[in-house]
Symmetry: C2
Subunit: 336 residues, 2 copies
């Protein structure tokens, strides 16, 4: 591998000069710069990033901690973060951390070893307290899809409550009143907030959400969705519409319904949340709330980089709003 010294020797200049032309900063004579650049091209010189990071004490890399890139939602998140780094010449390091607080902390740790000052963290297992401690130690740490009031300006999050309300209102607008909800057993903050949103919107319409109308799935995926709707059905609950915690569960619901010969949307309407690619694979295509992950991740990445370079940035907040995507899984009862 050819080094800066080689270039300097061949070009007959000092390494400092080469360094200056490589980084395009500092004053370098026009002819000198051309000469050096020529040698660089000829020799195919590429600066050693590790050496750069070592001496400059920053690695110009952005860490992204997510459960798993292979999950479409998080893959999209990672891509969104990467987009933001293109202009900054940053590289993104993805750390998968699935299943436990320890895994998440290890991931952060590993990123720290790489000296990446900017980190976008999607935590599912760490407590607010733990995150606050981390945030204190790492100025460039930003949380995505999580809200911690003490760290408001370091959180990029979605208004799940309003999102759930909008989804609910859509059903209401279409003339639905017998509305069931499918949620996840572990009831994480998102699930809680979305359920609250549904309740609020329903209350505003003078409808009370009975506990019996809440179907619970063990996992927040297709299986969980199927299980939850199965529970509702076997309990003899009557409903004409379902608000699912997310798209995966919604699709499970559609499958579960189909297994009983119940048609969507003719017999029962279904609304998802997230707007994953998968939501258009389903027949009927799912009406769902679009979750702007890509934009949010991109925004979070920029914020993390900004904070890592200048910790005392303004205390603005970073709230995003989901919006309804109307497709074919909701029947219009109002116009009939």
């Amino acid at each position: 591998m050819i080094t800066i010294k080689d270039v300097a020797r061949v070009a007959g200049v000092s390494t400092s000069t080469v360094s200056r032309v490589v980084r395009k900063q500092g004053k370098v004579g026009k002819t000198c710069r051309a000469k050096v650049q020529k040698v660089i091209d000829e020799l195919g010189y590429r600066p050693n990033i590790n050496a750069q990071a070592l001496v400059s004490k920053k690695s110009n890399s952005l860490g992204v901690v997510i459960p798993r890139v292979s999950m479409p939602f998080f893959g999209t998140l990672a891509c969104g973060a990467e987009e933001a780094t293109i202009e900054n010449q940053y590289r993104v390091l993805i750390s998968n951390a699935l299943g436990s607080e320890q895994a998440e902390l290890d991931a952060i740790d590993s990123l720290l070893q790489h000296r990446c000052g900017a980190i976008v963290f999607h935590s599912m297992y760490c407590s607010d307290k733990t995150l606050c401690e981390l945030a204190e130690k790492i100025p460039g740490l930003v949380f995505i899809n999580r809200f911690i009031s003490k760290l408001a300006h370091r959180c990029v999050w979605l208004d799940n409550n309003l999102g759930a309300q909008e989804a609910t209102r859509h059903l209401l607008d279409k003339g639905h009143t017998e509305i069931a909800v499918i949620t996840r057993k572990d009831m994480n903050p998102d699930a809680q907030v979305r359920l609250d949103g549904v309740r609020t919107a329903l209350n505003n319409a003078g409808i009370k959400l009975a506990d019996s109308m809440i179907g619970i799935g063990t996992t927040a995926d297709m299986d969980g969705g199927r299980e939850a709707v199965e529970n509702l059905l076997s309990a003899g609950i009557k409903f004409k519409a379902i608000l699912a915690y997310n798209d995966n569960m919604a699709i499970g619901v559609v499958h579960g319904l189909d297994a009983h010969g119940i048609r969507v949307p003719e017999d029962v309407s279904v609304v998802g949340f997230d707007d994953l690619l998968i939501s258009v694979a389903c027949i009927p295509e799912l009406t769902t709330m679009h979750y702007p992950v890509r934009e949010m991740a991109s925004y979070a990445a920029n914020l993390a980089i900004e904070l890592s370079e200048n910790p005392n940035t303004s205390g603005r907040t970073h709230l995003f709003m989901p919006h309804l995507i109307e497709r074919n899984s909701v029947a219009d009862l109002a116009s009939s």
Copy 2:
């Protein structure tokens, strides 16, 4: 950030000793090791990876070049590669390279700057020649989902031909004879080989694949699938089964059929390829060929690491086989 010197000072030993206990190699006295370890834990010392990489001339990281992590297939590939690195204490660097040969070369270049000696490369735009040149320069470079005969022992690939044959035979076994094929317009190597496989299997059954039975989609996604089946339909072609290039196109086909009131599998059977998560989201769940990406990527990662550490490894080849996953999109004409 605390350094090896800090630890050495506090523990009252030299940095060499600390270095030895950190890397758990070299002889270190039992009590001395304990003492140093204690200080390491207390101070929360973490070696600077960049410095390690610089001095040891290897970064212990594995590069993965793919079009985009947000595409489920490639996200899974990335995860598979990562799995392989867990035991080796390697870190994986993902480089998205979408759309052009230049993008792919840039991605490789960036990885080289990080001095990662092991790279798993999923190339879609580079010519065999280009790849051969790269392979020569980078001993730890391995190609996935691509076969180049001169580089056979550096390629981890799938037998698309036999896979397509198996898919075709499945249809034949179920009594189908009016079989159409959906493929992608650009006819990349995979598409070509899969089509050949279909032809072979059909020929063996005494059936000739008419050109008119080949539907073409502009893109290899849902839209392409819908477009292709639309073409077939509007040309008045009769068929009772469809072999799609991949799952995405297959799902597009199901949608396209549905739009014409044609039921799957009652009226037309559909078989996909890849076994993406999306294939079970569809109703009916798709019968498809399972593509063992995760295992292949994991294998490729190990191979890349092995080659990077010891370039002259055996000339074995690395061929994987897809297998049929029977779900609900194929009707059994034979037993009726």
